[in-house]
């Protein structure tokens, strides 16, 4: 059986079409986490915002994928239903077929906790500005969610909404990090020293 030249090209095309990404059947992270510790000097400082930012990014990819898939005529599988949103924040749904990972709300709560521990080190005027701006971000996401309810799947609205969620996490994380980095209080015990990222 000899191979014709077009078979080779057809084979190449078929290979290139195979999915490069395959999700493992179970979550492998716990096994990895067990062998991965924070490096010395960094213990006690977790930045859940980074995981949440990735969550938002993953959803962004799905949103792009989903809208591409929808255009191809294939229905989108519904994702997991989001938990009840944190009070005072906008609903985290994009409309039918799209949801944000519940881990997003958890990460946001963590970040708010983290920030509230540091907020007394911020000058009052900066703190007020920060709170006012977080309010602006919530108003923006609320406005866009409202529009999405009328026009689900609108790519512009989805992109802007994701950017707003990402920005909120980044603002919370950055405010904490900038404040922590300049926390110059001496500590009695060297091992307690807060080392900012």
């Amino acid at each position: 059986m000899t191979i014709r030249p077009d078979d080779d090209r057809a084979l190449e095309a078929a290979l290139a079409r195979l999915p490069r990404s395959v999700d493992p059947p179970r979550d492998l992270w716990p096994g990895i986490a067990a062998r991965v510790e924070d490096r010395p000097g960094r213990s006690g400082l977790r930045w859940p915002w980074a995981a949440a930012a990735a969550v938002v990014l993953v959803v962004a990819s799905s949103a792009i994928t989903a809208s591409l898939v929808r255009r191809a005529g294939t229905p989108v599988a519904a994702g997991p239903v989001a938990e009840a949103p944190v009070p005072g924040t906008a609903s985290t749904a994009f409309g039918p077929g799209h949801t944000l990972d519940p881990a997003y709300d958890a990460a946001r709560r963590n970040l708010v906790d983290e920030l509230s521990r540091r907020i007394d080190r911020m000058p009052p005027s900066a703190r007020q500005r920060l709170e006012a701006n977080l309010g602006e971000l919530r108003r923006a996401s609320s406005e866009i969610n409202g529009l999405l309810a009328e026009r689900p799947g609108d790519p512009l609205l989805e992109e802007l909404l994701l950017a707003t969620y990402q920005d909120e996490l980044a603002v919370l994380a950055n405010a904490s990090q900038i404040t922590a980095a300049a926390d110059l209080r001496a500590v009695a015990d060297e091992t307690e020293k807060r080392i900012p990222l």
């Binding site: 080779d8 195979l18 395959v22 492998l28 986490a33 980074a50 930012a53």
Partner: protein, 206 residues
């Protein structure tokens, strides 16, 4: 060529893979702060990177090992090793490419360990795969599709085909990752294509 059997998930993944160069570059840029934080020691940032890349790593491991449980082990090994090697990452390549290099090492090391453990010259599944690959044995079980055909390739040929044909690495890159001479790599690829072509042509026979 067998076609049209893609599942919805595969369509979705392919669509994501087809994302323009700009999108890919944009995503790489968005993950740079995560890489920086992970290098500085943040396990949470590393977890985020894990979630972004695990599909590509597991996909590579699965196709190279043709064995889901082994692929899971190799995937975990890859990320653990990546964590340890982060300080030397250096941004000389894309983070995903770097992970792939570590993954290939993990797969090859796994193969070596198994040989050492069993004391055999070659692991059992390699022998079996080679046997199946011999067309002179007369294939009775129909090859299901391209993925199955790839799984049945002998490991050396499969490795090269997966890296070049599916993941788009050049001969030089694949040879470097596998520790082979470029010439050996090319001949393995030729062998893989020939075997696949024969196998898949068999399937199309009435």
């Amino acid at each position: 060529m067998p076609a049209g059997r893609e599942t919805r998930a595969e369509v979705a993944v392919r669509a994501a893979d087809d994302a323009s160069e700009f999108e890919r570059a944009r995503r790489r840029e968005e993950e740079r702060p995560l890489v920086e934080a992970a290098i500085r020691g943040s396990a949470a940032a590393f977890e985020a990177l894990y979630r972004l890349h695990v599909g590509h790593v597991y996909g590579l491991c699965l196709r190279m090992t043709a064995h889901p449980a082994t692929a899971e082990d190799c995937t975990q090994e890859t990320f653990v090793q990546a964590w340890r090697s982060l300080p030397s990452f250096g941004y000389r390549s894309a983070f995903g490419t770097w992970l792939h290099r570590i993954a290939v090492n993990a797969v090859l090391a796994h193969g070596r360990r198994r040989r050492e453990a069993t004391g055999a010259d070659r692991p059992i599944d390699e022998v079996v795969a080679d046997t199946l690959a011999d067309p002179s044995l007369g294939e009775d079980a129909a090859v299901i599709d391209l993925e199955e055909a790839i799984r049945r390739l002998p490991p050396g040929a499969r490795d090269v085909l997966v890296l070049t044909g599916i993941y788009g690495y050049s001969h030089e890159e694949a040879a470097a990752m596998l520790g082979l001479a470029v010439g050996t790599c090319k001949s393995q690829l030729h062998r893989a294509r020939r075997l696949l072509g024969e196998r898949l042509a068999l399937e199309e026979e009435p």
